[in-house]
């Protein structure tokens, strides 16, 4: 019921394994196998058996400690405990690599593409708005140029009329 940490579970499993292994290799069994020697030297047999058991347990426990040490297993298992704890609300089977890297990479890259797209959208909208203003300014400018051209044209025509008057005057003045 109580959720043991993976490290505790591992130690418990190894202890249980050792317990059962030693239980299997009982003193009874040992003396059965080394019957004659046991009959000759019962105390010695007991000592040898005890040494056998303690040595086996020590070696196996040392091996486990070494493996824990080597692969930094305790920290790794504790971090796995945390990850599992954090993900326990999520009941459905979680995603797993599909075996097609291109496919799996889509979700990895997608958030950054979405950012890129949003940034581009903002840039485009901003530029469109600016261009809208520029376009209005250009239209206003065109109207203003047109007005100025009309003004110049009117003045020009006035001067041309003047020129005609002038020519007429000359013709009048020059008349014989």
């Amino acid at each position: 019921g109580t959720t043991m940490s993976r490290v505790e579970l591992l130690d418990t499993m190894v202890d249980t394994f050792l317990e059962k292994l030693v239980a299997a290799g009982s003193y009874q069994r040992f003396t059965d196998c080394y019957k004659h020697f046991y009959q000759l030297q019962p105390e010695m047999t007991q000592r040898i058996y005890d040494k056998f058991v303690s040595q086996l347990q020590t070696s196996i426990r040392e091996e486990i400690s070494e493996i824990k040490e080597e692969g930094n297993l305790e920290a790794v298992l504790n971090s796995l405990d945390r990850i599992v704890e954090e993900g326990k609300e999520h009941q459905e089977p979680a995603w797993r690599p599909s075996g097609i890297p291109e496919k799996d990479l889509c979700s990895t890259v997608a958030p950054y593409l979405l950012q890129q797209r949003d940034a581009l959208r903002r840039h485009v909208q901003k530029q469109e708005a600016k261009n809208q203003e520029l376009a209005s300014a250009v239209l206003a400018g065109r109207r203003q140029v047109e007005e100025l051209q009309q003004q110049v044209q009117a003045r020009q025509q006035a001067w041309q009329a003047l020129h005609r008057e002038q020519r007429e005057l000359l013709s009048v003045l020059r008349a014989p």
Binding site: D104, L105, T108, V109, Y112, L113, Q115, Q116, A119, L120
Partner: protein
């Protein structure tokens, strides 16, 4: 077989991060 599994698993763990670094650099450059 074991080495292949570990090799693939290692790539699955680290390559997305590396690729992402390149992708982010590329996107930044494009934006600039």
């Amino acid at each position: 077989f074991d080495e292949i599994i570990v090799d693939i698993a290692t790539k699955r763990k680290w390559y997305p991060r590396k690729i992402l670094e390149c992708v982010i650099r590329t996107l930044k450059a494009q934006l600039e």
